[in-house]
Amino acid sequence: MQYLKQLFTIWKQYIVTSLVRSMEFRFNFIAEMSVWLVWFGTTFLIANIFFLHTNVIAGWEKNDIYILISTATLIIQLFESLFFEGIHQLTFFVTEGKMDIVFTKPIHPIFQLLFSRFEVVPFIQLFFSLILLVLFLVRSENTIHPISVILYVFLCLLAIIIQIGIYLALQSLAFWFTRIENIRYLFYSMQEFNRTPTAVFHRFEILLFTIVPAAYIGNVQTLVLFGKGTMQHIMGAIIVAIVALICGISLFTIGARRYTSASS
């Protein structure tokens, strides 16, 4: 209990430091917000282009797709504000031989990577997504049950764990391959799957529930909210979250043994 309390205090300090750093670069804040708002708008614009030619895409109506986009964005922003930048430091630390800073501290290296960077901009963006989600839900013809909302929140938390596991595993590849900081862009591109109904992929749909588990970052949550989720979806999300986390931690642990410092 004492140890957990200590970790919480450290995390609070990390947040304060991150906030101070963000305030120093106010222009960055405006720039990042503007880019994100345009990007978010473009996402809906693209969805609209598809709906110029049809009323339903794989059983999803326009408003359903908007809810899917908002849900996926909400989950991504939550992950990006709390964990993304912290984990992303791994490739830089490994490439530049600076992991010593992490290994020599008396806190678990994964804890440091996960919690050391809190990003303000995605945290604010998260509220934009939330407001839009509520607006689209009000317009929706689907009845939302309170149990569905609880399950929705639970599945969103599982989606965060899935993303932590996957991104930690991807970043840990830096222990084997040099100069792979561009892996963040691959992670961004993969998010296209999160915002797309998995049913459009027909026979390849199964891949999104297994190898590239994008279905659990948007699709499953939205289906559960509409009361269309199954026990298989929930169990699947739990299993994938556990597997992703194990993969991430294992790859990091094995990779860390290969690490050589710049000063050695």
Partner: protein
């Protein structure tokens, strides 16, 4: 004269680009996968939109799959990331190093991108062969003799247009330190107009009419539409003429902007 001194600037830059990709092969593979993953969603959605229809706006199911497969190939041949590279070089002060060299800065950035283009095309071709073997992707083959020559000419035009446009965007970094926001916002809008999301005939009529008179569709959509034989010969010739006018215009704007930007940089940087 030493053998290496005889090699042209183009040769040196292309060779260096290829060597860089060989040193970090996993990095190159990630870039290739990144493009494929980003684009793979669109043909699947469009095929769902087709539903029972065989043809939509002149594009068969086979045609739309070919469109997105070739889109990546044409993108590698045409588009470049000079704006990002210039932004990095200016921010890190590396641009001074280039400006001090006895070479033309435009030529430097033009040839600098060829190495990565070659490597990406090779990697993508390998990836495509693997995917076709496993998933039997249909592929449209043109039937008219004039299609391929027109495609090649339009790709050359597209490449030169994209280069001028990206270099103008890159010049913003000479004036504003953090120009990435402006560049990204402009790129997001132009992405739709180049035909990246869908063939332009799928977009609202108003967008189609406007885009005819803008340079963006001649970078990606136009070569692909020619390949898929959805355009008549007069339309192709008309399109190439507009692209030619845009090329002259952008060439002139780029020279002017670059000249003023370098002068501004010298004044600030000393």
């Amino acid at each position: 004269m030493h053998e290496s001194m005889k090699e042209s600037l183009a040769g040196i830059l292309i060779r260096t680009g290829i060597q860089y990709d060989f040193i970090y092969p996993f990095r190159s593979l990630i870039w290739t996968l990144n493009s494929v993953v980003y684009i793979v969603v669109f043909p699947f959605i469009w095929l769902t939109v087709y539903n029972d229809q065989e043809v939509l706006f002149g594009y068969s199911r086979e045609g739309i799959i070919t469109y997105f497969v070739l889109l990546l190939m044409v993108e590698y041949l045409v588009m470049s990331f000079i704006d990002e590279e210039m932004n990095y070089d200016i921010r890190e002060g590396k641009i001074s190093n280039i400006l001090l060299k006895p070479v033309n800065i435009t030529q430097w950035y033009f040839y600098d991108q060829f190495g990565f283009r070659i490597m990406r095309i090779v990697l993508f071709a390998l990836l495509y062969i693997v995917l076709t073997t496993f998933f039997h992707l249909p592929f449209f083959v043109p039937t008219h003799w004039y299609t391929i020559p027109f495609v090649l000419v339009s790709i050359i035009f597209g490449n030169l247009l994209a280069f001028q446009y990206k270099m103008i965007l890159g010049c913003i970094s000479f004036w504003i330190e953090e120009a990435y926001a402006i560049r990204l916002i402009v790129t997001m809008f132009t992405t739709i107009l180049t035909g990246f999301i869908a063939p332009l005939v799928f977009l609202p009529l108003m967008v189609q009419h406007i885009s005819v008179f803008l340079p963006f569709q001649y970078m990606l959509y136009f070569p692909l539409a020619i390949y898929l034989e959805t355009l008549s010969i007069p339309t192709i010739i008309g399109g190439l003429s507009i692209a030619c006018i845009w090329l002259i215009l952008l060439w002139y704007i780029r020279s002017l902007v670059l000249q003023k930007s370098i002068r501004h940089y010298n004044a600030i940087g000393g």
